[in-house]
């Protein structure tokens, strides 16, 4: 920027920088895929003892990794059969002479357990940030990944790209979702673009990520375990998670192999006395904290409270109805349409249960 310039040079390059970031992800994906397709290229045998998992500074936290025992056993058997790893792992050289794994930790762990002395590896030079990014993307590209792990890694990627904490990213995604559903509120356009581009790379939309994926990270331990073990679909997991905790274990067992509709039917039977809950739960989707509280209140409240809740809803709407001025407010409008949607859902539950409305 010259001394008399009015437009700062960094402003000029803002668009270019954000496109560069978007593009980088798709490039990395392409490069990792290429790496997979030509495994023998440029790899060397490294001693397994000289390899460690990726070490990153505090501010760059790697998402949790799960090494499902059954999958590890399978991989181990395959490595044992081939007397070693075929597809090279991706590492970077650290200053202390060790190699840090960017991609391929499962394979390395198996080798260690099998006592295999060397593993084929590709050594690359990468900064901490880039290493984390590649680690996340490589993880996301692996076919073995569960939806929970994928959600974890995508959140990690979003945190890295947007330089935000987990909670801040969650808040932003909520804002984007609201923005698209025409609700009031503002969102940083550039951040929105970055977040949407990242999700798009993995064929995800913000709205479904917020309502279907994020809740996965807040599942109760029993439910989470069942999803990780592949015994429970993520959709059913979120449904069960809304139920009182003491029912979780039972419901997880009962729901194995059930479709969402079948499970909803089951839940409505289990919950007969509290049949308003599933509908309320839908509305609070994406905000499990609030949900937890409302559930506690619900489950502790006596059954006869059931009627007064909908009576109260009815009375309140009747009162509000007269305040014509109020309904001109956009915030109010958006909430009214939410209520409308919820009522629609109640109607469809009624239909499922065979109750004529």
């Amino acid at each position: 920027m010259a001394r008399l310039s009015k437009r700062p040079m960094s402003t000029m390059f803002q668009g270019a920088m954000s496109s560069q970031r978007d593009d980088e992800i798709s490039q990395l994906k392409a490069e990792l895929e290429q790496l997979r397709s030509q495994p023998t290229a440029a790899s060397t045998q490294l001693p397994t003892q000289q390899i460690v998992p990726l070490r990153l500074p505090e501010n760059l936290k790697q998402p949790r990794r799960y090494f499902a025992p059954d999958k590890m056993a399978k991989l181990k058997a395959s490595i044992d059969k081939h007397q070693g790893v075929l597809e090279p792992i991706l590492v970077r050289a650290a200053e202390d002479g060790l190699y840090e794994i960017i991609s391929g930790e499962r394979r390395w762990r198996c080798c260690c357990e099998l006592g295999i002395e060397t593993i084929p590896a590709m050594t690359v030079e990468m900064t901490d940030e880039m290493a984390l990014e590649v680690a996340l993307i490589a993880h996301l590209l692996s076919e073995e990944i569960s939806q929970i792990e994928e959600t974890d890694s995508i959140m990690g990627l979003l945190m890295l790209r947007l330089k935000k904490s987990f909670e801040e990213v969650k808040k932003l995604l909520g804002q984007i979702k609201n923005y698209h559903s025409g609700m009031i509120g503002s969102v940083d356009e550039e951040e929105m673009q970055v977040a949407e581009a990242i999700l798009e790379e993995f064929d995800l939309k913000v709205s479904s990520f917020v309502s279907n994926r994020l809740p996965l990270l807040n599942l109760a331990p029993v439910v989470l375990e069942a999803v990780r073990g592949g015994r429970l679909s993520p959709t059913n997991a979120t449904l069960i998670n809304r139920q009182p905790e003491e029912l979780h274990e039972h419901l997880v067992q009962e729901s194995e192999g059930l479709t969402k509709e079948e499970l909803m039917k089951l839940l409505s039977q289990v919950n007969k006395p509290l049949s308003t809950r599933p509908a309320l739960g839908e509305g609070a989707m994406g905000d499990p904290e609030t949900l937890g509280i409302s559930q506690q209140q619900d489950s502790s409240s006596p059954n006869q409270n059931e009627e007064p809740v909908y009576e109260r809803v009815y009375t309140q709407i009747k009162v509000l109805r007269r305040k014509k001025q109020l309904f001109k407010n956009r915030q109010v409008q958006s909430r009214i349409s939410k209520i409308d949607k919820l009522l629609g859902e109640i109607t469809s539950i009624a239909q499922e249960l065979g109750i004529e409305v």
Partner: protein, 276 residues
């Protein structure tokens, strides 16, 4: 970033020279780069992709008939008979030119109607490979259809600009466009930006400030921003009457005035192309 195998000794490099403003030295860079590459024993095909046809003038050639231009390569009837003219063949070997001209403004329009129009040049070069080590595309002054076509056909991009605010702003938009377009076109491998060549530098405040040569704290400079974006900057080429004179004489600067310091920079860019 991640190592690739080098199965071939050296695959053909295709360099698109682009800018987003006119008169910033694209054709000058094209001919001088070609000359320096030829001195380093590389064979080069220069493609004039600009309707202004300036490459013809800079190569000291005569305006071709429309059938003898880049337009012909992009026609359905083209079957590998590239209309190539030897450039400075009496002085140095290894440089051929495929010329542009006014007809290219019609080509650009036709391409928008053609299936796989964006990939047409890339497709032709794949179906009828040229034997040259390096192909250089001299692009038009502003972003248009021919930019997209050369982007899809190139392995690397060189960007030229004058160190003025308006040019820098235009280049920022060009870079934005490059990243978006190469992603949209799903180019594999995607062309890399080899670097930026600041051209026509004059020793005055704006140029010095923009290139970070003023020693004033707190002003943003192009080299700083390029560093954060990971894009290389080549040394600046000073404004010189000899460069314009060489072009008018239809010669590369290296033949017109071998002692000019700018030749060393063109040679450095040539090294980057060979190594890139």
């Amino acid at each position: 970033m991640i190592g690739r195998s080098d199965e071939l000794p050296m695959p053909q490099k295709r360099i698109a020279i682009q800018s987003n403003s006119g008169g910033v030295g694209k054709t000058t860079l094209a001919v001088n780069l070609a000359y320096q590459l030829a001195r380093k024993k590389q064979t080069v095909a220069l493609f004039g992709c600009d309707p202004n046809g300036s490459l013809t003038l800079f190569c000291g050639l005569d305006d071709p008939v429309p059938d003898q231009t880049v337009d012909y390569i992009l026609r359905p009837e083209f079957a590998g008979d590239y209309p190539l003219f030897s450039a400075w063949g009496d002085r140095i070997s290894g440089i051929d030119a495929c010329l542009g001209g006014l007809i290219l403004s019609e080509t650009a329009q036709r391409l928008t109607m053609t299936k796989r129009g964006e990939y047409l040049l890339a497709d032709k070069l794949e179906d009828y490979p040229l034997p040259h080590d390096i192909i250089i595309f001299d692009c038009p002054g502003t972003i248009e259809q021919l930019h997209t076509v050369t982007l899809a056909a190139s392995t690397h991009i060189l960007i030229t600009l004058k160190p003025e605010d308006k040019d820098i702003d235009a280049v920022a938009k060009l870079i934005d466009w490059i990243y978006r377009t190469r992603q949209e076109l799903r180019l594999k491998p995607a062309p890399d930006i080899l670097g930026i060549v600041p051209n026509g530098f004059k020793d005055r405040a704006m140029h010095r400030d923009n290139l970070g040569l003023s020693n004033i704290a707190d002003i943003e400079t192009l080299p700083d921003i390029m560093r954060t974006m990971g894009i290389s900057m080549f040394p600046k080429i000073n404004d010189s009457a000899h460069i314009a004179n060489a072009a008018a004489a239809g010669l590369p600067l290296g033949l017109f005035r071998p002692g000019e310091p700018a030749n060393r920079i063109y040679a450095e860019i040539a090294d980057a192309v060979i190594g890139g």
